[in-house]
Symmetry: C2
Subunit: 121 residues, 2 copies
DNA sequence: TCACTATTTCGAAGTCTGTCTAAGTAGGTC
DNA sequence: GACCTACTTAGACAGACTTCGAAATAGTGA
């Protein structure tokens, strides 16, 4: 069960609406905006980068607290935001909690920004 | 000449640091976060979509005000945020101001989210 | 069970954002 | 020039976000 993982997984509902696509609906825009809001913070961006770039593909909170001059609760808060956006997932193993990125969510964003033909005029 | 275009073009400074990459610096993270902050609003997301999806590749403000139940100044504010993030560019032609997306900025974002090998262990 | 560590949740203070109305600027028409 | 439309800027206000310290929860080991 997911006591830790209060993931809304916002990205999963609507799949791959491209930026170029017909017309993003109000709801879809709100969900997508939520994901970007999660990314719209330097700390969260670096956290995501640290997790994504870690050799084993995952990082524990103790590894993520060091690089920042921020309190533990603050890091935890940012991780929660990333989690709720469906960008990362956390798993407790013994004393520590390990986070890893959700590749599908990242790939989906890449797809969103892929312009089939940049402004064909 | 840019009387209208107070574009900071945040995305141009650092090129294509991938999410998987070595380690995003503090400055780079701040700049990137600025771009995502611009995208972190449903209205701006839909504005960008409307501009990107328009047949001619550009849209005038008058076309962009209709779909929203928001005042003109509010739409103008959101367009300014997108402009300052380097995501769109505006040009006045006669009475109307036309906006178009900056393909390079969009492509750069796509690159950022492209995971060469999702978690190469 | 008790103490200790790791992490999250809670509540509060300060700051930023989205929205509005009112006013200003640019361009076109009479 | 006077007036109209299109758009932006300025100022104000409510609500959301970031951050913190303190307290709560989860797990380990004596």
């Amino acid at each position: 069960m997911s006591k830790l993982l209060d993931v809304e997984d916002v990205t999963a509902r609507e799949c791959c609406a491209p930026l170029n696509g017909p017309a993003i609906g109000e709801g879809e825009a709100a969900e997508l905006a939520q994901v970007f809001k999660a990314l719209a913070d330097p700390v969260r961006l670096r956290l995501l980068n640290l997790i994504a770039a870690s050799e084993s593909g995952e990082a524990c909170v103790c590894d993520l607290t060091g690089p920042f001059e921020l309190s533990g609760p603050t890091i935890s808060h940012h991780l929660k935001v990333l989690r709720q956006a469906g960008l990362i997932t956390g798993e407790r193993r013994g004393t520590w909690v390990y986070y890893r990125v959700m590749p599908d969510a990242i790939t989906r964003l890449s797809t969103f920004f892929t312009l089939p033909m940049a402004a064909p005029a």
